[in-house]
C-alpha cells in the first residue's frame, strides 16, 4: 500500500468514528521515556519549581516581636501579606493587579520569542504530570510494558503495582495540598495542628480539595487539561508569528519519510525513517510531523528522541528542531534567514513589560508606610456655633504600616485661624495637634475644625490636612474642603 493510500485509509477510519459517535473515547497515551539535553533541562526546571513550592513556606524571616516569622505568608485572618521584607495591606491590592499585568505581558513576550515554553516546562500542570508519569514509569515500567500490562487480564502483580502507584500519587498530592495551605497559615504550627486535629476546618477542607485536584489533574486528566480545559492553548497562537521559535519538524528535509536504509539509486527518501519515536515519547500523544498543533505543549521531548535516531542512522541532528517557520521556509529554498528577535510584536510586548515593571518598581519603592484618609462629615455639612463661628467634622484614619509606633503633628492649611480639636479629646482648640499611631494599626478619630466665617471666601474652601512624622519628617497631605453657608454673617459681631 502506498503512503498516500495509507493516510487516506486512516482518515476514512477517523471519519467513520466521527460519523458514528457523538462523543470520542479518550485515547490512552503511554509516553515512552527519553534521554537527552531537553529532558535534562526539563528535570532541572521541575526540581527547581517543586523545591521552591514545597520549601518556600518553611523559610523564616525575622520581623520583630509579635510579627509572623514566615518569609512568605498571605495571612487572610489579619489581612496582612508578607513577602520577605515587604508587608502589604489590603489597601495595596492594586499592586497585585500590576504583578498580574507584568506576568501576562511576560508570558506574551516569551511566547512570541520562543513559543509555548511556559506550557512545556513551567506550567504546574506539566510539572506535576511529569512527576506523576515518572513515578508511573518507575513502578509499572516503560511504554511497552505498561501497554502490555493494561491489555492483559488483571493479576496480582498489576494490582499491587497500581495500588503502589496510586498511593504514592496520593501522598504527593496530599503533600502538595498541604504545602498550599502553608502559604496562608504559619507552616510549622499548622503542620502540628493538622495532625493533632486542632487546625481550622478550612485547613482540612482545602488540603483535601487540593489533594484531590492534584491527584485528579496530574494522575488522571493530564493532557486533557491542556486540550480541553485550559484557555491558554486556545489563544496563545495570537502571540506567535513565523519568527517565533517553536518545536518544528523539518518537513523539507524529512519527507518523503521512509523506513530502511538509504541506498544510492533507490526510491526517493527524506531523512525521516518513520520510526514513530517522536509520537511515542510525546506526553500529549500527537505527531509533531503534522505541524504546529493546539495540543503541542512545546516540551521538545520529540527532539531528544529524534536526535538519537539521527545519530544512529548517521544523519545530521535537528530533524525536529527548535526553529522558526520563516527560517524553515528559507532553508527549504536554500537560503539563510537570520534570527529576528527584534520585531514590532516583541518590541510592543517589551515596552509594555518595561512600563509595567517600571511602574510597579516605582510604586513599591515610593510606597509610604504612613497613610492618611480623611472623611468629611456629610450630615450635618457644617455646624454654626453660638459664638458665630462654623465647625466641620472629619473622620480621620491614620494608617501606620511600619513596625514602630509613630507620633505625628497634624496641621491644617488653607483656612486662616482654623482651630482643631479631637472630639472627646482635649477640648482646647489649637492650630496643630500631636497624634499617635500604633505600629501596624489604623488609628481612627473624629476631628472638629472651627473657623470664623470671615475666613470663608466661598461656601466650600479647599483645605489641606498635613500629617508630619515627628521622627522621619515625612509628610502626608490629604486634600479636603471646609464648608459653610456662603454669605453667613455670623462673624459680623
Amino acid at each position: 500500500m502506498s503512503r498516500i493510500s495509507k493516510v487516506e485509509s486512516r482518515l476514512r477510519t477517523e471519519q467513520d468514528a466521527v460519523q458514528h459517535h457523538l462523543y470520542a473515547d479518550r485515547l490512552r497515551i503511554y509516553p515512552k521515556s527519553v534521554r537527552g539535553p531537553v529532558r535534562r533541562i526539563k528535570w532541572a526546571i521541575l526540581i527547581a519549581c517543586l523545591t521552591i513550592y514545597y520549601v518556600l513556606p518553611w523559610v523564616r524571616w525575622h520581623r520583630g516581636p509579635n510579627q509572623p516569622t514566615q518569609a512568605v505568608l498571605l495571612d487572610l485572618s489579619t489581612q496582612r501579606f508578607y513577602f520577605f521584607g515587604l508587608e502589604l495591606w489590603p489597601q495595596d491590592i492594586w499592586l497585585l493587579a500590576g504583578i498580574l499585568i507584568m506576568a501576562a505581558v511576560s508570558l506574551f513576550l516569551v511566547t512570541s520569542l520562543i513559543g509555548r515554553v511556559w506550557c512545556g516546562y513551567t506550567c504546574p500542570q506539566t510539572v506535576w504530570t511529569d512527576l506523576f508519569m515518572w513515578i508511573e514509569r518507575e513502578i509499572e515500567g516503560d511504554r511497552n510494558e505498561r501497554m502490555t500490562r493494561d491489555a492483559a487480564p488483571l493479576n496480582s502483580d498489576t494490582i499491587w503495582k497500581k495500588f503502589l502507584k496510586h498511593s504514592i500519587w496520593l501522598t504527593i498530592a496530599f503533600w502538595t495540598g498541604g504545602a498550599w495551605i502553608m502559604y496562608f497559615v504559619d507552616a510549622p504550627s499548622v503542620t502540628v495542628d493538622f495532625w493533632t486535629g486542632d487546625a481550622a476546618t478550612p485547613v482540612y477542607v482545602f488540603t483535601g480539595l487540593f489533594t484531590l485536584t492534584t491527584y485528579g489533574l496530574a494522575g488522571w486528566a493530564r493532557e486533557q487539561v491542556c486540550t480541553y480545559m485550559c484557555p491558554w492553548p486556545r489563544f496563545q497562537a495570537a502571540m506567535l508569528d513565523d519568527q517565533s521559535f517553536t518545536v518544528t519538524y523539518q518537513a523539507w528535509r524529512g519527507e518523503p519519510r521512509a523506513r530502511g536504509k538509504r541506498v544510492e539509486g533507490g526510491p526517493a527518501a527524506g531523512d525521516c525513517v518513520d520510526c514513530n519515536l517522536c509520537v511515542t515519547v510525546c506526553p500529549t500523544g500527537i505527531d509533531i510531523r503534522d505541524g504546529i498543533q493546539l495540543e503541542c505543549i512545546n516540551c521538545g521531548l520529540c527532539m531528544d528522541a529524534c536526535n538519537h535516531v539521527m545519530e544512529r542512522t548517521g544523519q545530521p541532528k535537528g530533524l525536529i528542531a527548535w526553529d522558526t517557520l520563516a527560517r524553515q521556509a528559507a532553508k527549504q529554498a536554500g537560503k539563510v534567514e537570520p534570527i529576528r528577535f527584534f520585531r514590532p510584536r516583541t518590541m510592543i510586548y517589551l515596552s509594555a513589560l518595561t512600563i509595567a515593571v517600571t511602574g510597579l518598581t516605582t510604586a513599591l519603592l515610593t510606597r509610604s508606610t504612613l497613610g492618611l484618609s480623611v472623611l468629611r462629615d456629610r450630615a450635618p455639612l457644617f455646624v454654626p456655633l453660638a459664638d458665630g463661628s462654623l465647625r466641620n467634622g472629619y473622620t480621620f484614619k491614620i494608617v501606620n504600616k511600619s513596625q514602630t509606633n509613630g507620633a505625628y503633628d497634624l496641621s491644617i492649611s488653607g483656612l486662616p485661624d482654623a482651630k482643631m480639636a479631637i472630639a472627646e479629646g482635649d477640648p482646647t482648640p489649637s492650630s496643630t495637634l500631636r497624634v499617635s499611631g500604633s505600629s501596624d494599626e489604623v488609628e481612627t478619630f473624629r476631628l472638629l475644625v472651627t473657623a470664623r466665617p470671615a475666613a470663608l471666601t466661598d461656601g466650600s474652601m479647599p483645605v489641606d490636612f498635613i500629617l508630619r512624622d515627628t521622627t522621619s519628617g515625612a509628610q502626608t497631605v490629604y486634600h479636603s474642603v471646609f464648608m459653610g453657608p456662603p454669605g453667613y454673617a455670623g462673624g459680623a459681631r
Binding site: 482518515l11 476514512r12 477517523e14 471519519q15 466521527v18 460519523q19 459517535h21 457523538l22 462523543y23 470520542a24 473515547d25 479518550r26 486533557q224 480541553y228 462629615d377 450630615a379 450635618p380 455639612l381 455646624v383 454654626p384 456655633l385 453660638a386 459664638d387 458665630g388 465647625r391 467634622g393 472630639a423 472627646e424 473624629r446 472638629l448 455670623g490 459680623a492 459681631r493
Partner: protein, 290 residues
C-alpha cells in the same frame, strides 16, 4: 441552522455546517469524560433537590431532608449576636461613664450602639449627626437648653422634656401676648431690643430703651440680664448666633406673643438604661458635649 455540512479537505472530517466569514467549524466530538461529568452534575443536582428546599407544589414546597432553613439560620445568628451584645450592654449599664470611656473597646461598642439608636430614634427630629432643625435643637452645636454634660444628657433622654414623665424637665414661658401680659406695641419694642442687642442686628440711631425696660421687667428672670439664658429652667440663651426657632425678628414677636413649647418624649419606656447611656455617649461626642 446548519445547512452545508461538507467534508474538510485537510482533516477529512465533516464540518458542523456553520460558517462565520468564511471560517468553518469542524464537527469535533466531545470527549466522553466531558459527557460523564455533565451527567454527574445532573445527578448531583437531584441529590441537592432531595436534600434542600427545592420544588414548589400547591401551597407549599419540598422542604428537603436536611431541615435547612435560612430563616432559622438568621434567627440563630441574631440570637447569637444578641447574646454577645448582652455582655457588653450589661457592662455599659453597670459602669459609670468614666469607666466606659476608660475602656476603648467597650466605648467603641457603646458608640456604635449609640449611633444606631440615635439614627433609629432621635434623627427624625434632631437631624443626622445632631445638626438640628428649626424647633429641634442642634445637638452638635453645644448650645444646650438643659445642659450638655453626660449626666445632663442622660437625664434629658431618660425623662424627656415636658413629656409627662414625673422627672421630666419642665418649664413654661408665659404667654405674654395671648394672655395680655404685654400689649402688641410693647412686644414689638422688646422684640426690637432683643433683635438689635442680642441677635446682633443693630440699626444706627435706633432707640431700644423702651424695649430694654420691658425686657428687664419681664424677661431677665429666666433669660438673664445679658440674654445668657438659664439652664435650670431651660430658658434659651438669646445672645447667640443660633436660635431654636430661627434667626428672624418675627420669630421673637411670635415667641413672646404665644410661645412654642417644645416637647421631647421620655425614652425610659422605649429604651433600656444601657442603651440610653450608649446614645448619651454618642450625643456627647457629636461635638457639643461638655
Amino acid at each position: 441552522m446548519p445547512t452545508k455540512i461538507e467534508k474538510d479537505a485537510v482533516s477529512g472530517r465533516d464540518t458542523t455546517g456553520h460558517e462565520w466569514d468564511g471560517i468553518k467549524e469542524l464537527d469535533t466530538p466531545l470527549p466522553k469524560w466531558w459527557l460523564y461529568t455533565f451527567y454527574a452534575c445532573i445527578g448531583i443536582a437531584f441529590v441537592i433537590f432531595f436534600l434542600y428546599p427545592s420544588i414548589p407544589y400547591g401551597p407549599g414546597y419540598w422542604h428537603g431532608v436536611m431541615g435547612y432553613s435560612q430563616r432559622k439560620m438568621v434567627d440563630a445568628e441574631v440570637a447569637k449576636l444578641t447574646a454577645i451584645r448582652k455582655v457588653s450592654l450589661d457592662k455599659i449599664g453597670s459602669l459609670s461613664f468614666e469607666q466606659i470611656k476608660a475602656d476603648p473597646q467597650l466605648l467603641e461598642v457603646a458608640m456604635t450602639d449609640g449611633r444606631i439608636t440615635f439614627a433609629e430614634n432621635c434623627q427624625p427630629c434632631h437631624g443626622a449627626g445632631g445638626g438640628g432643625h428649626i424647633g429641634y435643637p442642634a445637638l452638635a452645636a453645644g448650645s444646650w437648653l438643659w445642659g450638655g454634660t453626660l449626666d445632663d444628657i442622660q437625664q434629658t433622654v431618660t425623662h424627656g422634656i415636658r413629656s409627662g414623665d414625673d422627672d421630666a424637665r419642665n418649664s413654661a414661658m408665659p404667654h405674654f401676648g395671648a394672655d395680655g401680659l404685654l400689649k402688641p406695641a410693647e412686644i414689638q419694642q422688646v422684640a426690637d431690643f432683643v433683635w438689635s442687642t442680642f441677635y446682633g442686628h443693630k440699626t444706627e440711631g435706633q432707640d431700644v430703651s423702651a424695649g430694654a425696660k420691658i425686657f428687664a421687667e419681664n424677661c431677665i428672670a429666666c433669660h438673664g440680664e445679658n440674654g445668657e439664658g438659664n439652664r435650670v429652667v431651660g430658658a434659651p440663651r438669646l445672645n447667640s448666633h443660633i436660635h431654636l426657632y430661627g434667626d428672624a425678628r418675627e420669630t421673637i414677636v411670635a415667641q413672646v406673643t404665644l410661645p412654642r413649647q417644645g416637647v421631647m418624649p421620655n425614652w425610659n419606656h422605649r429604651l433600656d438604661p444601657a442603651t440610653i447611656k450608649a446614645v448619651t455617649l454618642y450625643v456627647h461626642a457629636l461635638g457639643g458635649g461638655e
